[in-house]
Assembly symmetry: C2
Homo-oligomer: 302 residues x 2
């Protein structure tokens, strides 16, 4: 990944190094590497694919942080906190280009196609959120959003690993299902953590989604379950950001309600569906690690 900025402008090299040095969980390329090794993908192509996926993810974060004016990511200052908007836009574009370059190094047309489609899906999701109605208590919108935002790239990470492996189409489909489902679970857990974590763990105020009018699963389930409650009635009526202390009370109500456990149970169901698909593939150490990865997702500290 780091070598992708060689022979380019020195500030671009240092920006890429900075972004990569922050680390992150590297869960998507980890998933790709494990899936590819399990299915006997060729090592070099698998490395290219994993780098392509992490770079695509990184490029979308660079533009997201600019758009949201976020100042910290993974504990270090974002690019947009230090550079002009123009330089930040261009650095994101450059990383997209290098992601496409790494994807092309897999020498797989099907991989290139799902790669391009995934980028469209992610961006279309963000535009829909930007222009869309806020405060919509609607499971269908929610699923569309978390698929666009997170599950689409998890799906691609697993599916593309199978596509460059010597396996039948059915195996590609099982891996796609595995990736899709654990991606959906991953985002649901993130959305739960937004309510249940401490502010200093999150690095932002508790309930930050709701404060921006973004309704996630815990709020949807709360509204569905307690529709007679005044707060839930407001949510359902599209008044999702109560003024003053009422927003704090609403967040506390959701946080301490059984909507959290019910949301968690939905994430567990996604993981189980994903594991069922994965278990169609013969057992072995990599499959075991992918099972552990799926379980880790729903066991992150609530």
């Amino acid at each position: 990944m780091r070598s992708q900025a060689d022979e380019n402008h020195p500030d671009l090299r240092s920006a890429l190094n900075l972004l990569l040095s922050a680390g992150g969980k590297r869960i998507r390329p980890g998933l790709t590497m494990l899936a590819g090794r399990m299915l006997h993908a060729e090592h070099e192509r698998l490395l290219s694919l994993s780098a392509a996926i992490e770079l695509l993810h990184t490029a979308t974060l660079v533009h997201d942080d600019l758009i949201d004016n976020s100042l910290l990511r993974r504990g270090i200052p974002t690019l947009n906190s230090r550079w002009s908007p123009g330089a930040t836009v261009l650095t994101g574009d450059f990383i997209f280009a290098r992601a496409a370059n790494m994807a092309a190094e897999t020498n797989s047309i099907p991989v290139m196609k799902i790669f391009a489609r995934t980028l469209s899906t992610i961006v279309n999701g963000e535009i829909t959120q930007l222009f869309g109605n806020r405060c919509t208590v609607d499971r269908e919108s929610y699923c569309f959003r978390i698929y666009s935002k997170t599950a689409s790239l998890f799906e691609t990470s697993a599916q593309a690993a199978a596509l460059i492996s010597p396996v039948e189409e059915q195996v590609v489909e099982w891996m796609r299902q595995y990736g899709y489902n654990i991606g959906m679970a991953f985002q649901i857990i993130d959305d739960i953590l937004d309510f249940t974590s401490q502010e200093d763990t999150l690095g932002k105020p508790v309930g930050s989604d709701l404060r921006q009018g973004i309704i996630t699963l815990p709020a949807i389930i709360y509204a569905e379950t307690y529709h007679d409650d005044g707060y839930a009635a407001d949510l359902l009526a599209g008044r999702c950001i109560p003024e003053g202390d009422r927003i704090e009370e609403l967040i506390l109500k959701i946080r301490t309600s059984d909507a959290i456990q019910k949301s968690h149970a939905e994430a567990v169901r996604y993981v189980e569906t994903g594991l069922n698909a994965l278990r169609q593939v013969p057992a072995g150490p990599e499959r075991f690690a992918l099972e552990e990865l799926a379980n880790y997702i729903v066991q992150r500290e609530l």
Copy 2:
């Protein structure tokens, strides 16, 4: 191209329609179509490639106009003049994604690779300009800049058309040379027009590059030729934006000097080199049209 936003957010569809309705010369996809027809490329793949090239060009313009805060392009308001920066960034990203999708539809790995490389080249050039020293009177920097900005995509337009055609590697190389050279000429002519056109034709002040500290070929040749002149001495010393009336005088001096004709002669030399490469391919109506296209580039109204 228009169908690429189908099934996406309606605002994204209308943005793409607006951008495409503005037209432009469509010189790059025109070049690709002619080259591909000349070399007997398959029609559907050629259409995909041409659309990919125009979309890539369009996406870079969307981000450029945002970065430069340009309000008009091709006579219509730019996206950034009407939308938030975030929406504009995302629309550009979406068009990149759809360009990658169309490129993948060519089913050619070599095309995907040069496509990704071209995007890196364009963006690296812009970043170099953004961070680089202004007021540099240096032919090497100038050639790097116009290659990144313009000739790289012309090169790809012609080379990729050959890559999806049933031709020898040598023909691919001839077409690459043709595209590269007419692209260099195209940008030199643009840079001449920035000095010689009227403000109302340009839609911006005459000499706008120089006013921003961007030294193009006419200024380089002026400085080389008249190095004893006070203005040229300033240019060579890196003081390229004289204050007050002196900038108007410098622009007038360059505009009325033989630096314009000498710059034009360099563009003509590039076109001749491109035509020499093109003429290695057997004659026919498409080759004739590509020759006319090359000649048109240096015959645009000075």
